[in-house]
Amino acid sequence: MQRISRVVLAHFWVAFGLFLPAVVLGAWQMLMRSPMSAPLDDSNAYYISVSLHGTVMAYVLTTFFIMGFGYAVATTSLARPMRGLKWAWLGFGICLAGTLIAAGVTLAGRATVFYTFYPPLLANRWYYIGVFMLVGGSMIWVVLMIVNMLSWKRDNPGKPVPLAMFAITATAYLWAWSASGVAAELLGVVGPAAFGATTQMDVGLARTLFSVTLHSIVYFWLMPAYIAFYTLLPVAAGGRLYSDRMARLTFIMFLVFSLPVGMHHLFADPEHGNGFKFLQAFFTFFVVLPTLMTVFAICASLEIAGRARGGRGLFGWIRTVPWAEPMVLATGLSLLMLGLGGLGGIVNMSYAMNSMIHNTAWVTAHFHLIFGGAVVIMYFAIAYELWPQLTGRPLRSKRLARWQLWTWFWGMLILTVPWHVAGLLGQPRRVAVFDYTMPVVARWATLVDISVAGGAVLLVSAVLLAITLLRSHRGAPYSVLAPLSYALPVHPPGRVAPVLNGFALWNGMVLLLMLAAYGYPVGQFLFVLKPHSAPAYNVTRPALQGASP
């Protein structure tokens, strides 16, 4: 763990180090949107801020955190040094350089295209180069995860791959599939325009390709939370995992079903027929299955722990679960937010109901609750769990960590519940300033004010996180530190079916589903539809001449 600790800590500190300023931006953005006056009151600054907040939260925090977590899992779950440590540092360097380039260009006001690009908006080419480096660098991580799992399997024939390693490898495959969409968009549509090879962009094609990434990336972000639910939570709660097979099936179903579903972000796009929109909405419902399986397995694991600690009766075990443990507390809070956010998500992905909330603030509220809330709170819990392993020092302190988790939970609810309601009342998303003297807009005023308070609570929580993690780098080191242990299932598998111990079958299924769901919708742009590209809209500088005075 010694040599790997440095690489993991480097990843985590990039993630959390940029997370804190991005939370500041988020809190300011909500203030900007509110009837209250905000410092630096300017809509251009707002769009710069939104682009930066989105890029950092969606790409930097997640990718760096998950990569670091993956290296920790590969080392601890396989209980042997990770192969390719040098490659891990190389990937880190590429991702960090890409991050700095993208962030710098955005701060300079030359990439106000949000983190989803929105063609035909065209940013400065260096922004796309930065994002491409970040995504491309993370592919080194993907390869390292797969290589480490395969080499362990070769050295341990017939044995089941440890659940945590199996799950992080599923995450790696999922990310590779998912990133293929944005990579194709950058190389095929946005890149040629950014580098001046063409002045046109096929917006429909670009949006369709991005939709491949757009939803599956969410499950890429979500996977560490689920890995913690299945492998770390039962240990922290003092119990056992309910079922190893159920866990493996969950991760497999996420891999298979989270990919052919992205078109539920394109319900209002005119290029696609009803049939394919319905098809992908239909598949989206199947992602609910592994989620419900997880909720069941986690509750069962907690019940096992609660009863082992003396809980009796139908609900008595709930009281005896050790809620003071950050991991257990975070799981409880995460499941509450997952429940609320999941119900909202079912509205989003339903073909008919979507039109009610399409492009409203409801959508922004939804992904803040489910990603910023349910997922990111588990990132905190994982960090608290791993920090003593990484620094060799105890966490200072669990009490502060609990405060941080509770403030994050309440901050997120105060932020997002009124935000959802404002969306239902028709508040559009991606708008910098609202004229609250208009009667229809005035109805949202109180709701946005409450959201501002939620943002402030979240800011406090982010500061608490930084304090807790920083303080835990100091203090007396452990003389003896028990290695990180993963949950044992109630019935440890002596061997598992080979299909539950590898990914060949499941990747084949993903390929078939992707061909069925995306083959025609992407292919039609190349072979069926008449060319219908639009001129790129350079958000920085469209002038043809007069470049320098």
Binding site: S37, P39, L40, D41, D42, S43, N44, A45, I48, G109, R110, T112, T199, Q200, E271, H272, G273, N274, G275, F276, F278, L279, F282, F283, F286, V431, A432, V433, F434, D435, T437, M438, V441, R495, A497, P498, V499, L500, L505, M509, L512, L513, A516, Y520, Q524, V528, P535, Y537, N538, V539, T540, R541, P542, A543, L544, Q545, G546, A547, S548, P549
Partner: protein, 276 residues
């Protein structure tokens, strides 16, 4: 033992693929047959319903394109941009001798209602000249002059004026934050330029004409002549000028009050500054 494991694997494979195939068939049936038949014209056959599901409306191939009434013959296609880029400022200088009488030496206008051309973006110049030439923008003298020019002549003279100094400021693409310039500003011109007026459907002037943003074909307005700006705003409002491709200027201008257009013209003539 090995035999059982292999048999188990086969059954996993078989069941998984069969399940997936069944799911796909069900999804296609629901999406393309059931939904297609229930949402489209019931007199249409099954095949037409499936085509609709794919996104192909019956007869889409044979449908004649509707006759379009276009406000301008210029679109920002690669060909247009290439034509503009091919402009030769040297040849343009010769063409520009025709312009000096009204637009001033080297395109710096000294007349209140004649626009300054020096430093204007070549794409904006080219589009307006082409619109004068095709009659899409109506201004007697200019229509005659533009008709006398060749297509290459338009590009040449556009290139010449775009390169002239001391007129309109060159576009720098600067988009640094302008603190306090939003809907909350007390100055109506600042409010309209930087935030627009959402309740009247007025987009911020500055997001296309500067200083907060620039769009292809939209001229930067800072230091432009105020009387010219006020006159053109009125022309858009009254519909006597209509060569804005998406009717955006006509919609905005008609929503502005007289006092507002005047304040905006003054604001831009001062160099996009409120002057205090």
């Amino acid at each position: 033992m090995a035999l059982t494991a292999a048999a188990g694997t086969n059954s996993w494979h078989w069941r998984s693929w069969a399940g997936l195939a069944a799911l796909l068939v069900l999804a296609f049936l629901l999406g393309f047959v059931v939904m297609g038949r229930n949402t489209a014209d019931p007199r249409e056959g099954l095949w037409a319903a499936i085509c609709r599901g794919i996104g192909l409306t019956p007869g889409y191939r044979d449908a004649a394109a509707p006759v379009a009434v276009v406000p301008s013959l210029i679109a920002w296609t690669p060909a247009t941009l290439a034509a503009i880029a091919s402009g030769d400022a040297g040849r343009g200088e010769f063409v520009a001798l025709n312009c000096t009488v009204c637009h001033g030496a080297r395109g710096i206008s000294t007349t209140a209602d004649v626009p300054t051309l020096a430093g204007m973006d070549a794409a904006a110049l080219y589009k307006q000249l082409a619109d004068f030439r095709s009659g899409k923008r109506d201004w007697g003298v200019m229509n005659g002059i533009a008709l006398a020019l060749s297509a290459q002549g338009l590009a040449d003279v556009a290139a010449y004026y775009a390169a002239q100094p001391l007129g309109l400021p060159y576009l720098t693409g600067r988009t640094i934050p302008f603190s306090g310039r939003s809907l909350r500003s007390s100055d109506p011109a600042v409010r309209l330029v930087f935030a627009g007026d959402p309740s009247r459907g007025i987009a911020p002037c500055g997001s296309c004409h500067g200083p907060s943003g620039y769009k292809l074909g939209a001229p930067a307005l800072a230091f432009q002549k105020s009387a010219y700006l006020a006159r053109e705003t009125a022309a858009f409002a009254q519909g006597s000028r209509g060569n804005d491709i998406n009717e955006q200027m006509r919609m905005i201008a008609v929503a502005l009050t007289d006092a507002e257009s005047e304040a905006l013209a003054e604001f831009y003539a001062r160099g996009a500054s409120s002057g205090n």
